[in-house]
Symmetry: D2
Subunit: 140 residues, 4 copies
């Protein structure tokens, strides 16, 4: 499991007085990029060599609203990785109260901009890094 | 079924060259407000009398990416309405090709800002409008 | 002068209960793309042949806040065009009350992605369209 | 002078491959809130007691585009403070190269949600904090 920390910005609120529900998808993206960085896989460099990793599907449960100026912790783990597909699970917690705010799951593939590619076959060194991480963190 | 039309804006793209996946949640919100307006239930007025309708959960399947300047049609219907909870189903289609771009489902409740309220009990006139619509559109 | 119409979306509000001030820059961008489309110069096609038109500078005066669900009209004109540089002037008015909400001015150049280019020299047919428009609208 | 540090997020890019120009306004807002926090004036608390500080006007010069994953430093100072009006000056620099990316200036007032208020008269303790800071930093 990895944990990404994030402050809720004013410009992310809406007139309900809470973080607009679309912004959590952006926080999850930040968390994934942080995750890959931590594995030594810069998403910036991946894009530079032509790898793109779009979101295939996403699910969110909004448990409690996050407010401006609050700090959240996003606990994330890879719950499935096949070399072609990768599924992340996330829990967004309030840093102060530890309350669960949002639960989410997102599914991703890798493409060369046009077609889905197999990380396992075409980028075995990247594949190994992710695969090793997933195996070593199974019991987290 | 109702259909909301939307153009994809430049500022909604990301460096993948497509609409950023978080923006579809904003389009669905616009579609819901359009839907309520069409039933004569202005969301603006609902908020003015103290009713808030947050998103409880959401699911999205990203089938194809939408590009800047494309027009999409969002077909939406209420697939469940209990007077307390309302579930919408959406299909975002390309207006030109009719291709399905995104499928989504979102679940909502009504609150007074603090607690969940029953539309059926506390706003029977609003409840009737939605309930009548849902019943009349069952075979859409 | 051209006029672009726009509805203020819920997801564009912040917890002050008004449209977040950053979003007007997005509306102005939409207005410019609408402007170019109306002249027969699709910005989408311009980018496809390698022309990019970044914002060089921008000024905004926030006169009154726009609220969710309000319709605004953005009156815009080109106040300077040299073939290399283009300056737009905008007034955002409330469609209902005609009140001025925001005044703005933005300055743009054209680039090939790296270097500034002269529309006049390198795209004379595009240059002529804009130049003719500017000359014909001087007395608007 | 105070300096706010910020990473450029993927979701802030557009299809030009750079940070969308509207997002710098959001970064400046984050910087102002950081600035007030550092003075012991939480903007969150200010809003809770009914003080709102809207943007009155803004100017930006886009010198160079910021890219995804880059770190920037936002140097900011108050160049005018009257107790009613406050003007900030900002320079956004690339953390790595020290290049100036954006220069900006923003003007603000304080309101009770309806009318402009004088910080000097109505919140003398807040006024003193800002005034002392401005006086002590004149030679920065």
């Amino acid at each position: 499991m990895m944990t990404y920390e994030r402050k809720a910005f004013y410009h992310e609120t809406d007139q309900m007085g809470v973080i607009h529900h679309s912004n959590y998808l952006r926080w999850l993206e930040e968390a994934r990029i942080f995750f890959l960085d931590n594995l030594g896989l810069s998403y910036k460099k991946m894009e530079e060599i032509g790898i793109i990793s779009p979101v295939v599907s996403i699910k969110l449960d909004y448990v409690k609203p996050v407010h401006f100026d609050d700090y959240v912790l996003i606990d994330m783990k890879v719950i499935k990785y096949t070399g072609v597909k990768m599924i992340f699970d996330y829990v967004i917690r309030d840093k102060n109260t530890n309350d669960v705010m949002v639960r989410a799951e997102s599914s991703h593939c890798f493409t060369d901009g046009k077609n889905v590619i197999s990380f396992k076959r075409e980028y075995p060194e990247y594949h190994k890094i992710i695969d090793d991480y997933v195996n070593s963190s199974l019991n987290d």
